[in-house]
Symmetry: D3
Subunit: 225 residues, 6 copies
């Protein structure tokens, strides 16, 4: 099985981190291709960034759908996900939807730990889109963005606050750039900590094996007449 | 006051119809500029169409924000509206949000009459995004798309069904291409029938006069740090 | 165009403040008549006050509907609004509904700043009635009612708390008596601050120009048989 | 114990029917006083009717609160209920709130059977106010209002439709004028059929015995400072 | 009338407290039988405890339904309530559902004061099941479980916090073991404080007198075919 | 990896069908053990059946948790799932939660096709518990239960109705006994058709590989103090 992971931004370092997280998870019979998006911004921080990333993302799907079994969109805000689900018959899974829905199978609620307070309104809109707004007890972000996304202490503190103050039962990492922090945080916090890349791989590889993909009945059918 | 209306598709005829509806409504002190979007598809029917229209729409805002007081996005699905609100300090109003929210000031509920069953899932997601899902009693579309968007009888029948079967109190025209049908439908159906272009003009001209625009406090602030 | 503004209480000073806010906004072709309600309490603070104001409000509509194009109810709790919408064919707009719905066009959420903690349960019920409860992130009121409604610092502090602690993107003034504070607060807080009187004028004048009024299809039709 | 039942309209015949339903239910130690509302319309059909009934209803409470232990508002739309709860320290129970909330203790959902399609928007708003909108599977009313409210067959048919088509498990009689139909309908339909007058008596007599009444903590405290 | 109260746990002391609370409330014509559940855990704290209590609870209903008019489940989490409603034609009332729904008749919202933070997720799920989640402003529990459930000061402090910080208007005692604290707390806090045992008795005795019981139309009909 | 599938009923034939569906899906490195529940009813149709199955289900977990990596509850109503999640540190996945949440990754909504109208209220309560009630557009069941659960035509017709009348985009099989119908239905209906057993295997095997299990932070921690 071959899975194509699209990093919607153009940062090579983050692309590598995503690829490593993916390869650490999958078994030998799954081949991972992880690529940054040509023409995309270095980071996806704004609504405009999402649109700027769109042509490159669509081109990656078009160029690769014959050779891969499924696609993963590796940005936690599930950038342009509806359009990709619509344009291909292959399964397309967002790391945001996969991780937040997986979280609801593991606890009574979840909290999202993310990198920047600026992304809170968008995260809340995304949770609402997925009907998860009342299961997401909080979105926690540092007052000051950390110098490095792997500044573990910052995110450990946020997770601890979510557990103690918001009574969060599960922590979802709200940014693909946090890939790799899941295990250390889970170990120190004592609750499930979910990285979206792995969650999306669980779903995507499962759907491929099951032979199921996006419904083309109506809303995701581009050729509906 | 100068209002710039963006038709997110590239159809000249629909652009003319939107301009006429706008000019019929505004007073002499409001100047309307209505343009199609270069590089956009002829119609916006799919999620991909929305992304394809994005570069042209963003370019229209960038090129014109110095010379205009507000922007209107004249597609009822409010294509790429969040990004435009984010990128400029001028008010940006979508005809979908304006018409559906205006409808809630005129009745206990509303129904959207639109052109194609294919757009129902998207319309429902849009209503949910605006927290209007329980106020929108139905989305009515013809079984067969009509030959002409101005095939008045088709839409009158849909409106009549919405009133009688769904107990709709207000009808919202769910496509910019239906501009111009509002008055004849209102006259024959006996309930308010709202064209989004006019509703957006009411809001946009009002905001300009009031000196209020999109909040840059957090989620729509592209430069947030 | 002639707009009749009903102040549901009997306070002459507040009526003057509302009139000034209205006249500051409208253009020359709109004539404003702003009146207090005979027989109403000096302030509308309780459910009983609302009912006590009802006969005078209904009489004002009956006596003036032939000579005016629209009515505005200038109390942020939209006192007796449903009955007024039902009794006349003219548009009737509440400053509460207009300002809270306008706020949702300008940000991801809003907070209401009001004069007294006692009005919080009512404000929450009102937001729920309009399906806005999840968009209204807070209702902020001073612990001690200020000596003067124009004690600007008190309300600036409340607005600042709403922005910083509740991540509010838009501030709605939750009392007609705060008319006039919008501009200074907007200037100091850096986010949109909405006065309901102006918001209702935007809607009411727009509806009159558009030729649309309350639906008489069912729930607002007093003569339904 | 003495319970005062306010019929918000001025129809003597309906008042008698309500009194009979009440007296049929209560035990010997409960004295019922049931009165029509002076100055109220003959029927409460519109929002204006509700306000017209208000002065008489408030006067009935003021004149009787010393001599009675609780009040019941015997109109299924719970006319002016908030104001009455606010004005007295005695428990005040609406037949709408009591019957719809009692219904949720007896089945997975309920349907309201009422007299006129015109009252459907109001009934839906009322259910929403009580957070019951998703438990109320339907409001069923005859296409043509029946000649007599005791035209049993009309309401039996509505109840049967609710059970078969809406999968309703409990039927709530949506008008005080239907008092007396509960037992015959329950017997023929085979599901619980609730008359609001009895439901309100269950609650009101219980609260009096328990020594509990409306909270004066905040929203129902008219003297809050 | 004879009411059978099932204490789902096997604690004799708590059973006595429940019986006393019940007998204090009912009139002479109501006979109370209150029993612990054979084979049940000493306290119901976990999901497993609930299932362990099930056989004994079902046996109590089977053995007593011929001789009693109604059943009450006297654990605030309404343990196994659906199954008991399904298995007998007699009314079955949970103290959780009765007290929380009664609270909504007395204030704009309520808070649940309970014994242990561990029960918060379950209480929230229960409120959601009853569609009360947005009316329940908080669940308050001590950081450290008190030595004695009748440690009045602990629960008074929780109630005070709920009133002052959460603006709660009504307090619901969230554990049958708190029976007996209602009156002293109501007296000191100045708001309604509801014990579920009494609330369930109000409903159960009322339903018996009214001749109404659980709907067997569909979901509670064990013999449906 | 070793997965233990609990069929909550005691029907050997259905247990075999579940085992076959599971073994058809998993790869060689996953060993499936599928067992019926000793002491459980032949079918789980009622709330009482669920409780009757509990002791046997809990015993199966206790006896096997040392030797297996995860548990699956193979009844679409997710019988006693919370208790099993609480009692073991191994992941426990219900086929109802897994299939309904997976469906939301594949379409804008889903419909559940099940065997009996009697199970509709329970299915709706279950969807609400998972916050999926507005994504589940319908529960479709035959008017007459079919003679055989593999009477393919009956369920094809239900699926077709869901797609055409309810605009369902994904079909979820609402009973473990329908295992095996997914592929033929998907092929004939042209939309994704999900069997819960496979969906639960996707989740359970993924969680085991990922090293994540139920949160013991609060609500699922039986030893919380």
């Amino acid at each position: 099985m071959r899975i194509f992971i699209i990093n919607p931004n153009s940062d090579a370092e983050m692309t590598d981190a995503i690829r490593r997280a993916a390869e650490d998870y999958v078994q030998d019979d799954v081949e991972i291709e992880c690529r940054l998006t040509p023409g995309a911004p270095k980071f996806i921080e704004t609504y405009q960034d999402e649109l700027t990333a769109a042509p490159g993302m669509m081109e990656l799907v078009r160029a690769n759908e014959k050779h891969f079994d499924a696609f993963i969109v590796a940005c936690h805000s599930d950038v342009n996900l509806d359009a990709l689900k619509e344009m291909t018959d292959r399964p397309v899974v967002g790391i945001g939807e996969a991780s937040m829905k997986m979280a609801t199978l593991l606890g009574h609620n979840f909290s999202v730990v993310t990198t920047h307070v600026h992304s809170i309104p968008g995260k809340e809109a995304q949770a609402r889109k997925y009907h998860l707004q009342d299961l997401m007890v909080s979105v926690r972000a540092p007052d000051e963005p950390p110098d490095h996304l792997h500044d573990e202490e910052v995110f450990l503190d946020l997770g601890r606050d979510a557990i103690e103050e918001d009574l969060a039962e599960v922590i979802v990492l709200g940014c693909a750039g946090l890939a790799g922090l899941d295990k250390v945080m889970q170990s120190k916090l004592g609750v499930p900590v979910l990285d979206g890349v792995v969650c999306a791989l669980i779903v995507a590889t499962g759907l491929v094996r099951y032979g199921v993909s996006t419904s083309k009945a109506l809303g995701y059918n581009a050729k509906y007449e």
